[in-house]
Symmetry: D3
Subunit: 331 residues, 6 copies
């Protein structure tokens, strides 16, 4: 299923998700017999990295006739504000109705990928996992996770999103499961008994008791099988802090559980990642959610710059093809 997600959905192909004026443009120009070869260029509004090229290319491959040319950057490359990242040269009506979809795919995914990149760069090698599916519409949750992995995340929490990027999904257990069991240790024991051995045993330790206390109880029960504990302390208890991680580490070490790793989630941002690293807190992994999902889309703009070989542009733009040696022929 995941490969399918790179192919255009039927209602995208039909233009039903496009701005309606493109449908009318097609209607008018076809009736007038006007379909010039036109070059469209696309540029982003902010610096960042580009994501969505793979999906856009699949859409254009479906749409364009023989002889069309598409030039662009590759998935995940860095981009600068107002730099041309995609150029399509083809009879205009073959792609007119897809301008909305192309811009939307690039805007949304590049926004997510860049936010993920900021976290990954802040983390300096400590793995970052995308945990934000709960903050976006489920139809785009896999695309968001895919973009996060393009941006450098180690993996993501949705099966579909992770598999689009060739990864296995990652996750521990929800508070709800622990509440159903009524006790973290009981939940951990059941998890360990029932789940395939290749799934890492990572236990959430902030549900009922103070975290270091709970971490010790779980470690004493699962012993060597416990791979990590996850700290997701709610804001009402101060959130996860560098001091909490350090204390958990020392108390686990003093009890001999050096092998148990510490995973941090909840309100994680690049700024907070840097604070953790600056204080030397021994974090073994970060889960990031809303920093990525609340990233503003990196809006893209499309301009016709050449019609039938002649430079042209609307007011405010430079007429003619823009030179960008970084572009590669994609189609």
């Amino acid at each position: 299923m995941s490969e399918e997600l790179f192919q255009p959905a039927p209602h995208v192909l039909s233009g039903d998700t496009a701005d309606v004026y493109f449908l009318r443009t097609r209607q008018v120009m076809e009736a007038e017999g006007l379909n010039p070869t036109a070059a469209m260029e696309i540029f982003p509004h902010r610096d960042g990295i580009v994501c969505g090229m793979r999906e856009v290319t699949a859409l254009l491959r479906k749409a364009l006739p023989q002889g069309a040319e598409v030039w662009g950057l590759e998935e995940g490359e860095p981009i600068s504000a107002r730099e041309v990242v995609l150029r399509v040269k083809a009879p205009y009506l073959s792609y007119a109705v897809y301008e909305t979809a192309i811009l939307g795919i690039l805007a949304h995914e590049s926004g997510w990928a860049q936010a993920a990149r900021e976290c990954v760069e802040a983390a300096q090698g400590v793995p970052v996992v995308s945990f934000g599916a709960r903050h976006v519409h489920p139809l785009v949750a896999p695309y968001m996770d895919y973009a996060a992995i393009v941006g450098g995340c180690a993996t993501a929490s949705t099966t579909l999103g992770a598999s689009m990027a060739g990864k296995d999904a990652s996750g521990t257990m929800p508070h709800a499961m622990i509440i159903c069991f009524g006790d973290t240790v009981k939940a951990a024991v059941a998890f360990d008994k029932q789940v395939e051995p290749e799934v890492p045993r990572i236990v959430l330790v902030d549900t009922f008791l103070d975290e270091p206390q709970e971490a010790l109880r779980v470690a004493e029960t699962l012993g060597e099988k416990l791979q990590a504990v996850r700290l997701d302390t709610p804001g009402e208890r101060g959130g996860v802090t560098p001091e909490l991680v350090q204390e958990a580490r020392v108390r686990l070490d003093q009890a001999g559980f050096h092998h148990v790793r510490l995973f941090v989630s909840g309100g994680v941002t690049p700024e907070r990642i840097r604070q953790f690293l600056a204080t030397g807190a021994p974090v073994d992994g970060f889960g990031v959610g809303s920093y990525i999902t609340s990233a503003r889309p990196n809006d893209f703009t499309a301009d016709l710059k050449e019609v039938e070989g002649q430079p042209i542009a609307k007011r405010g733009r430079i007429p003619g093809i823009t030179d960008n040696p970084r572009l590669k022929r994609l189609i």
Copy 2:
């Protein structure tokens, strides 16, 4: 097709877009024979309005067994930060894997709806149209447009989004079409000739010439048939300003074109809408794009608050059902 969009997609129903730990929770609890009746409550992080209830209810209707209870607010109602807006009471495993999807639908759509609401309130009766499809992934563009209309927009630019809310899509013509024709008047004449008469004649007038000059040229050609002109001046020419609208109005009026209305788009925000109104600029409609699409999702949180009739909660939350007389029985 648009009604279908309120029904859960197959890969949402299968849990493939869920956080993987909910799949594992189901696996563990089923194996352990644990499936208590549990009450889950959901609250937002910010004040605003709720959107997505219609889609969430459709999903729960598919998922829950007989005897389950769902209480919630109605689509578009105002909400306060941390107020319970949805309560599900049912055997936990019947809905466990949908927590991710439910939260994501509400977060994304409520974020968009609230941003639209802010524009609509600023506009004090002047119609606002959602023009942001180009800034979001095409799979959610219709949901974004739907949410914008729930938030008060008059209509939206995508066929599918507008129809989800029972509206006709709205649009004029793109710069690209005018560039293909090489002249705004030629494009306007062709549009007028080819498009069904019930579609309003609204012409974009900033492509090649100074706006009032172009507006006069178009008005002189289309005469009474011209319903409106759209000003979408690029930032490189100062964007659309109250002074520009006033000047266009006077110059059209001085030439006798009192019937031609003025539609403004490009970087429109509540703040800018208020500036237009404060200066008395005679705007007849606003097109809003990125203010809505770059709204942060209004993140929601789900908590188990009761298990088998007993109040319970994780640390930091108040155990037991939260009283909220605004909730109505939905299922």
Copy 3:
């Protein structure tokens, strides 16, 4: 002993704590046979309340000869910046060497009293207790506690300070005691067994376990005898928050312990008190430490304004007695 604290100490009386130039002034003027009747006026630098008048009056009563006049405000009265709060009229050499001590007593105590007043006003009737002895030198700790009570505190933590103001000292138990017992419940039981029944049973509940959990354990053990619990959560666990107080209240109430009151300490300031009250957190008492002890002294200045009945003053000051109808004859 506490009444003695209002009497001047021998090394204060001897002038050994005075600026040395007053000793030299006495030496020079005595040698020159100069000892005019002079009126000295004293004013504060900031608005606030005055504290230290009782101690200053005791000192002047010791120092001044027959016929001297002292006019002043009463302990705890409000004062304005630059308002005359004390006037001494006597042969100059009888009080010259005490200018340093008089100003210092008023500055230090008025600073503390005003800070306490700010807390008490913020608390709108919820009792505030002075807990700051650990932040000041032990020789002035009682004076700080006395000033805090003059400023409106219900009582204070030092025996001597409380008794200076006619109060019983207040306190619960330190973390150190609980650590020695190794368990909060064991410490609470021992305290209950050994301490006179009139001392309230107030147990500190943040030492080893999450606060509501610990509060419930203590309440289940001491039952009706438990008067209150104190929340003093360290910054490493987020400090005490309104949400924590509310949750502790609900969890205690759900378990039937409606009679157990909640006492909050740790980083308490007027600003934080107002936040607690604004959120409706059910706090039954506040312990304030460093806000009071880190208050800047309200510096006072002394000016000679009349010598042998003639108005005089240094440059920048108005010569002659300043009219202030609020002053009462003290000596």
Copy 4:
């Protein structure tokens, strides 16, 4: 008398200035027969320098039994926030009631010493004298002056404070004396006649006339015997400024009084000292008062970290002895 000031006062030794809960702790634990050997560690809240160790050591020497260990830094050493600066290892009840006094001594004196240090560092070799006795309670005025000298001040204005640090007190004359004489020159002449020759002749020159004018009058009268003049211009006349010092210097030099030095007081802070030096104002000494006396105490915290040889700590702290190679064995 001054050496006595390093010895604990009777009411400190009795615990009457302690938080009352320590007295109750002693009562409970004695009754329960519990008196474990415990290690207490103490750390400051801010960076700075430590002061009060001499007095604390004297107190512990009185209190602790044979076999106790005390490790700490030396008077005046630099300290970092949260660095352990003192460790006591002894039967807990031998020192329990002194926690309040130990923390208070260190907090108050370290706060003063650090503020003095900031002035001294700003002054780059120009002597700084502590003039703040009038802003603190007379019982701690000597400790404040002692701490200021530990922080680097050349000396201080109280006899007792200066002698605690092995210095002679410094001072000129008060405005009040000049007002009694009615004229600065008359006061200066009387001072010169009556005071021991080893006391420097430093005359205050802002009482009645413009400073340079008065300085010249005094210099013309005392001639070579005049060592310095003090500028203490009130805020109502603009305070002392670099320009005033420069002008006074030039006018004295033009009249041949190159030997008369200039001493500045009144509102002096590190920031203002830096401004004086930056403009090259020829200041020969600074008197600092409220910058030192209004310094916030550098609050200290005490934690039990080991009981009967086992690492332990309250939540939020790291259990066990903290390694700090800078500590030396004091007892």
Copy 5:
């Protein structure tokens, strides 16, 4: 001479102070035989009051032919940003070269007048005198003083400026004169002896001695003849402060000189005037200099809005005559 200053100077009339392109415009249009009747409108950039209308009208009266119309506001009226304050309707070449001069006169004088107005409004009836001639070129110093009086000043310091507004100039004596006499009292006596009796005796009292001291010396010498003293304390002595004025008042009153008034100058601004009044300082007059002279000109813009009876305007402006019922026919 002063009336002459309202007439255009020869090199203004000749166009030598105009932007050269107006000279070329005249040359081209005359050669082309083009001289249409045109309406020019002028508006300011900021709110304020208008000054310069009298001079502009005199210039236009010289320049315009029979039949021309000039409409405008009167000298000193309030104006709003972008409000039309002057309209000229005449053959264009009759006034083309004076656009520069008209705009410049209005800009410079309206800027000064508005700044003066702000001082006068702040002073609430206490007289304000324009003292800024020394901060502007002498050729415009009279115009600046005239504008200040239009803005509400009681009078000004230059003979010519004051007389343009029908006032007598006001002034005391400069520091330089006192320095030449070597003593303020000697200078005051000479002034009193030599100057016509109708000139008020106002003596500057900050040159050599502290101001209240000097004021008393002068008052004792001149007695009833002394009308006022001027305080102009330099910044190096803290400038004039409310406290200084109050002290001078008290010391004069204590010596019986109730009749001597106090005049304040030096760095006076509306903000400082408000501070004086707020503290109740008994100021009898303010001298204002650089606040008025450093006012930004209130730039004006001229637009042709009608040519041969047809509405016209450049891009960005509304074509046609602007309705403003406040304008009166001036020519």
Copy 6:
């Protein structure tokens, strides 16, 4: 005429533009027979460059008797705040009444010159022309232009101002002329036909049409004779931006008009000049108006420092001649 402008005007020489107290000083001192040789020093309040020395020297040459000395800096030299830039040594009454004029000339012209310098430095070699005559009174417009050229401007817009500095005035054509012709191209053709060939053909292109469009129309008509176009876009159309300049350049180049240069005016400041240069916009010249004309005068102060060879000064100033080796003998 322009050389005359450096000579004092009759009403300046007569003292009618002076502060009236200087006239009274002359009257008093003459009557008292007092006319000592006095040295007056003048210093500025801010850093900058000095302008007005040429005019001041001409005035002093007229005023001073044989034997007088004048020392000063040269026109246009850099100056520091409070640095002595002019010293006059002569019988005091020979120059007393000119203090006002001397200070005013230096203040006003130095303020303008420094503002011009800031623009010129920002422009890094791109010519800057003074266009601000319309913002100042016409009597000082030439002095402002002269000062701007002293500050580094290439030339200025007034004939008289430019000629004072030995330059030809520069200008294009006003909007008013184009409006009279009704079309930019018609105005340009007439200009080209009627004006001397040595005047550059520079055409203003923002009056009626979008700038690049108009620039192309003019270039197509005048061809090689067109030297430059001026962009002066009003704020209502976004002002001139780097992007507009770049687009105009490209569109002119694509049409083969590489020789047409681009001149920018309207709201130009050093900050905006730097923005243009930072973006690489191909600007060939800047016209600056209100940045220069709204510069605060750099106020100057005059002090008598020596009378009959003796150092003297008012309070707050250093008595005696100030050493400044940069001063040269001017008279």
